[in-house]
Symmetry: C2
Subunit: 361 residues, 2 copies
Amino acid sequence: MPGTSPVARLRARMEGHTLRGLLVTRLADVRYLSGFSGSSAACLILPGRSLIFTDARYRLQSNAEVKGFGVRVAGGREFFPRIADECRRAGIHKLGFEPDVLTWAMHRGLGNALRGIASLIPAPPLVEKLRVVKRPEEIIVLSRLARVTDTVLWRWRGGVKEGVSEAELEGRLLAVAREEGFSEPAFRPIVAAGRHSAMPHHHAGRGKLAEGAPLLLDFGLCGGGYNSDLTRTFCWGKVTKRYRDLYTSVFEAQQAALDIIRAGIPASAVDAAARDALRAHGFERYFSHSLGHGIGLEVHEAPRLNRESGDILEAGMIITVEPGVYLEGWGGVRIEDMVLVEERGCRVLTASPKGLEDNRL
Amino acid sequence: MPGTSPVARLRARMEGHTLRGLLVTRLADVRYLSGFSGSSAACLILPGRSLIFTDARYRLQSNAEVKGFGVRVAGGREFFPRIADECRRAGIHKLGFEPDVLTWAMHRGLGNALRGIASLIPAPPLVEKLRVVKRPEEIIVLSRLARVTDTVLWRWRGGVKEGVSEAELEGRLLAVAREEGFSEPAFRPIVAAGRHSAMPHHHAGRGKLAEGAPLLLDFGLCGGGYNSDLTRTFCWGKVTKRYRDLYTSVFEAQQAALDIIRAGIPASAVDAAARDALRAHGFERYFSHSLGHGIGLEVHEAPRLNRESGDILEAGMIITVEPGVYLEGWGGVRIEDMVLVEERGCRVLTASPKGLEDNRL
């Protein structure tokens, strides 16, 4: 439904679930619905009116950023009674909440405030489901972000030289990102040299580049609330047989996944395609994480690409595809791209070269 | 109890609450107890044994970082049944959980897995209460971090000149922090020039330094898991009467708070002292946030310094004291320091000059 606001589409979905009131507390959902970018807010969707609650620190910012919502400044102890008050005035008897966001204590506090007014109902992931298929303007933003991410990688690569530590490489990466206008990374970069690359989430330390060893870089930019995510693995100097075997397997696994991505395919089947390709090389058991995830206002969002996922790919989803193989004591290889799902295939949004020879340093 | 491990002290407190099993899911609590620094983990404290659960990405890292815990790699769907299994083997019939961390959905999933084995009990904030009073080695780490934060501010200040944008000032700050060995800020810095400084949580944008207008900088470093937090407000060029009035009031408010901080004082009384000082200048109603917060493994942790707080200060707590006054359309002033609570007073850990004249640019 292009041209329809996120809130209007949410309301249509709420009607489908006969839900007249919904409390939205996931910050990315709040941002998606309202445009508010602060760190403390909740949206209350009631029949005919949409409210956003924030605290006094954000009074000016919320008025500047938010359109189409009534702004209520009510932090701390005021929050629950104010929500209850609005529900009573709206004649709501059931209020939906996000069960995977609201804490047990918040649920209890809100339930107490709502006693005699409304009961709390765990809602299906309505806003998340909206966010999963990107609007045209979001696809533009994320595509541009992916290309700047390539640029940052390319410029960073020019400064890699023997003997440089992971920490220095991380510093250079963040400096280049900032020069390109991105002062906030999407997440702390993973910069892992040699054996450290066997830890999928290693943070930069004193590790250094060495002959024939992998250098794994996984990073993303954050701009306008949206995130990117890109991984490449580089080899310094001579390519050993083991390195070549691992790299080729991971490359083929990613290609196998990309080959079958299109609207209508189960996410679990894409994960399986990558695992099958790794199994053919005997490396499947060293692939210790899921194949990928949706990306947008959150670095990790729906859909999930793993064995257990029940998600079906739809045109307009933007996902990462990131197989990896990790050998304890030696190192690891991961290749990750951002991919737009299309009706008849997919479009890889990140365009950094990924052949083994392309990524020799 | 110096010399006693965090887990031993937690067990002593659990006994006081006749709690034989506790599931710890707040990451800062997990790090405090186990030393694990990854982004996905939970601790299960059972009679005679302590376990840490993480996912396969962290297999190597958890083995390298964690001492005194059995490591269990069980992510995704395996997590709840494995917890239940351990509880059954330990003969636990009640399992405490952290009610302000566990989501409603996690509580339900875990409750289902534990059916017939144990019931879930919302636990008091046992680990948070331990963390609130810092151990001697933590005081050393946080004191050093505060001093490096001063150094970064000092070096950053040397590069401030007319016409520079907030975004450039943020970039310079992060670059200086990195040169000092801190690649990860404690939070996204707040760099607010002129009217932007009226938004307590403004992020750097295109705002620029202008004559007679405030420049507010609020930032922190993160090292070894611990955080710092420091705010100074600067004036470029001529100091107007309004700037002087605001600055003097905020300075006096902070001093009034520092004057009464010592072990045994209610946190709400410290907040009130600052508000009283601002009220004397007619600015109390423009102080829209709380006076401060504990700081350590989290940027914001217990105790809370606000009107509603029931916390009592204890020797060894490290807190921020950060009064501010914000005038819409003009700007704001905030002064923040990190403070160690002592038996008979306090020690200000950050040492950046804070007189009005000290902070003219």
